[in-house]
């Protein structure tokens, strides 16, 4: 089996544009979420300077989520190619993307047309309505012709990891993107799925994954190695259901990860907690007080809000950024990160020594899909 490493990070987020801004953002106390138009609270991406990463002729053909995605992918490629030789064969570079809602704003606009008094749909708008529009636009803009796919929710990391480990590809960019949209937000607010304690967010995150051999061949540098990914499903899980969710999926994925790794080697947990008492409680239970007591805990969604389809990649990106600059998180900030209702009681302690292995959780609430990833420092 080939080893798989992360060699580039790209991010368009309320944390910042690019990994360096994101690292800086993570070193600061999370800002308060802003009140959104629909009565929700969240972290919208308000800047537009990420468009500088997209070929000028392509920008106007893309909707916003495609723009954010393409920019994140370009940034990740630039980051990976900043060390060693550039990728010599884009025909073999793939892109696998996660998205929860796809081009939600484009779907909204088209529904206005399709179901309104005038059923004429814009031929310019329509192509962006498919859920794979963002990855398609990114492939077109950047010339990527490798193994490409789009998954609804979390899963792209596992998919790419398996393809790389088994020698099906040498280089795949994985990403996640979603955007805030009034249709979804209104529904969630109305039915109390989200509230002041569960802010929501948006953005795009991308990671260049390469086999170790491919990275070494071009003189590239690994930021992190991916050791393990486990996935499981909770049948019957309902975002809106009774609060009897047992969270067995996360228990299984964390247990599998910890049986594959020496639990004692896990020095930090990047959690998927988003402020939902239901999910946060289950994650704490799955990780276990023992590990929480000795590992550092980082909760990226304290900075970004619940980012839906980009959540799993965001977690691994944050872990990778941590390895990139392990001094970024000061203990004081970690206490802030841990202040979620779910983990506040977990009496965290913080270690000063360098990180070794990081355990990253993701949970796709639309499908009850749990995923746990372990990465380590090169």
């Amino acid at each position: 089996m080939d080893k798989v490493c992360v060699t580039g990070i790209g991010i368009v987020s309320s944390l910042g544009i690019g990994y360096q801004e994101a690292i800086d953002g993570l070193s600061k106390k999370p800002s308060d979420p802003v009140q959104l138009e629909q009565g929700a609270w969240g972290y919208p991406v308000t800047r537009t300077d990420y468009k500088a990463y997209i070929p000028r002729a392509m920008v106007r053909k893309m909707d916003r989520i495609s723009q954010m995605t393409t920019a994140a992918v370009r940034m990740a490629m630039d980051h990976a190619e900043s060390v060693g030789r550039p990728f010599d064969q884009l025909d073999d570079v793939g892109l696998i993307l996660d998205t929860g809602m796809g081009s939600a704003s484009c779907v909204s606009a088209i529904l206005e047309e399709a179901l309104g008094s005038d059923p004429t749909i814009s031929p310019l708008l329509f192509p962006n309505v498919v859920a794979n529009a963002a990855s398609g636009q990114a492939c077109i803009a950047l010339g990527l012709k490798g193994l490409s796919s789009t998954l609804g929710g979390a899963g792209s990391l596992m998919y790419a990891f398996d393809l790389l480990q088994t020698g099906r590809a040498e280089r795949i960019i994985v990403g996640g993107s979603d955007e805030l949209n009034p249709l979804y937000t209104r529904g969630y607010v109305k039915h109390n799925v989200i509230d002041r304690n569960i802010p929501i967010g948006e953005g795009a995150v991308a990671l260049v994954l390469e086999t170790e051999r491919a990275a070494v061949d071009r003189g590239g540098a690994a930021i992190a190695y991916v050791d393990h990914i486990s996935v499981a499903t909770d049948p019957g899980f309902r975002t809106t259901g009774p609060r009897t969710f047992r969270g067995g999926g996360l228990h299984r994925t964390v247990s599998e990860a910890l049986s594959a790794e020496r639990a004692s080697s896990i020095t930090a947990v990047i959690g998927c907690a988003n402020g939902s008492s239901l999910l946060d409680r289950r994650e704490r239970s799955a990780v276990g007080i023992g590990l929480l007591n000795r590992a550092e805990l980082v909760l990226p969604k304290k900075w970004t809000g619940e980012v839906f389809g980009s959540g799993s990649i965001l977690g691994v990106a944050v872990a990778s950024m941590r390895l990139l600059r392990s001094s970024v998180y000061e203990p004081a900030e970690l206490e802030v990160a841990a202040a979620s209702a779910a983990v506040a009681s977990a009496s965290l302690t913080h270690r000063a020594e360098p990180m070794e292995k990081l355990l990253i959780n993701a949970y796709d609430a639309t499908r009850g899909q749990a995923m746990t990833t372990v990465i380590h420092k090169p």
Binding site: P119, A131, G136, L147, G152, G187, D234, R367
Partner: protein
């Protein structure tokens, strides 16, 4: 072919489908053999406002109407019920280490309409919001059978069903699941119909590979296959329909709706499929083509096939199931894989159901009119999508080693 261990091999042990010409696999088999077509004026909404008023629509089976959820959700559960019963799996054998990978698209009219009504200030059911997410169909099956393996949703538009089957194959080969329920789901919506109309892609007839082709006809399907690790299927004496050999993906990185005229994306996905399946081009007998009936796709696809298969191209049989059931978008790959599996299992080649002049003046190669009773050993099914996503999957007639 390189011999793999039985635990690395994947077979098809169950099939289920609802299509515009059938509400069971037996009915579908008969329809494929006879070249039955499922086209007519659009019934689900008023399409008189569009230039074309023609689609291939499902008549929802009575048994599906009693299931919970939106129409797409009910249809996929109905198809999954048939496939799972067909596989003989039940109880803990089914629940444990069984995953679900569904290729799907935009949801349903009920959901879209509810969302839009909300946007205009009317009441909205939260089920519409949740249900409009692409994962709703797969989740309905996961919940119904209490599946605990990986549950994934592929949303690569018209390549989604084929991509989903490939991903399910990977999950088994990588040991992440012993069985994976895979398939494709998409239903006709005014949103997609209006969109395809706006880009001028619709026609009154679906005539793949005909010199008279002028566009596609939209359809809808719920298609489900049970994939299973070969050794486990053999241990329980399951009926095995076919073996999945491998698949390929690519992006042609050219245009959101139009394929590259040189067929490079299609060529890459087929070459990667053959490489993954350890197949030489001359080992392939039959291509279930993407074959939409649009001017650009069919020209591009034939060009790509000629380049990939070279001297073997004239000996390939090529047909498009869309000539019978229209273009089911995200469900197309799933139902066309089922058509290919049924052809290998029963010894026939599904037809291109029209009698018009064909592009390469070799009607026999396109299996025109009705199915051809012939035993193919290896078939490849192609799916190409908006966004440039391409997927190809290879299957082999089952015979015990």
């Amino acid at each position: 072919m390189v011999k793999k261990d039985a635990h690395e091999r994947v077979v098809v042990t169950g099939l289920g489908a609802v299509t515009p010409i059938s509400s069971s696999i037996d009915e579908l088999t008969r329809g494929l053999l006879q070249g039955t077509k499922g086209f007519g004026p659009v019934a689900r909404f008023d399409a008189s406002q569009y230039a074309i008023d023609c689609a291939a629509e499902i008549r929802e089976p009575e048994g599906a109407k009693s299931l919970e959820g939106s129409r797409p959700s009910r249809l996929i559960q109905y198809a999954a019920d048939e496939a799972i019963e067909d596989s003989g799996l039940s109880g803990s054998l089914l629940r444990k280490r069984t995953g679900m990978v569904l290729g799907t698209g935009l949801g349903s009219d009920e959901i879209n309409t509810a969302m839009w009504q909300e946007s205009t200030g009317r009441e909205q059911d939260l089920a519409a919001v949740i249900g409009s997410m692409a994962s709703c169909g797969g989740r309905a099956v996961v919940d119904r059978y209490r599946l605990t393996g990986p549950s994934l949703t592929v949303v690569t538009a018209c390549a989604a069903g084929t991509n989903a089957a490939g991903l399910g194959f990977d999950l088994i080969v990588r040991g992440r699941a012993d069985r994976v329920i895979v398939g494709g789901l998409d239903t006709l919506t005014q949103l997609t119909y209006g969109g395809f109309s706006s880009i001028g892609a619709l026609a009154e007839q679906c005539l793949p590979f005909s010199t008279e082709r002028s566009g596609t006809v939209l359809g809808e399907n719920a298609a489900v296959l049970v994939l299973e690790r070969m050794d486990l299927a053999m241990q329980r004496n399951a009926r095995i329909y076919a073996e999945v050999l491998g698949y390929g993906l690519s992006n042609d990185a050219y245009h959101m709706t139009a394929p590259r005229s040189d067929g490079q994306g299609a060529k890459l996905s087929m070459l990667r499929c053959l490489a993954h399946a350890n197949l030489a081009p001359e080992q392939v007998d039959y291509i279930n083509a993407h074959g939409t009936g649009t001017v650009l796709n069919d020209e591009m696809e034939l060009l790509a096939l000629q380049e990939v298969f070279g001297d073997h191209f004239p000996r390939l049989y090529i047909s498009s199931t869309k000539s019978q059931i229209g273009h089911g978008l995200s469900s197309a790959g799933g139902i066309e894989l089922i058509a290919s599996v049924l052809g290998l299992y029963h010894g026939f080649l599904p037809p291109t159901a029209h009698d018009r002049e064909t592009m390469r003046a070799n009607p026999r190669q396109f299996v025109q009119g009705q199915a051809l009773l012939a035993q193919a050993e290896v078939a490849v099914s192609n799916s190409f999508a908006f966004g440039g996503h391409c997927a190809s999957i290879a299957i082999k007639r089952w015979e015990r080693d």
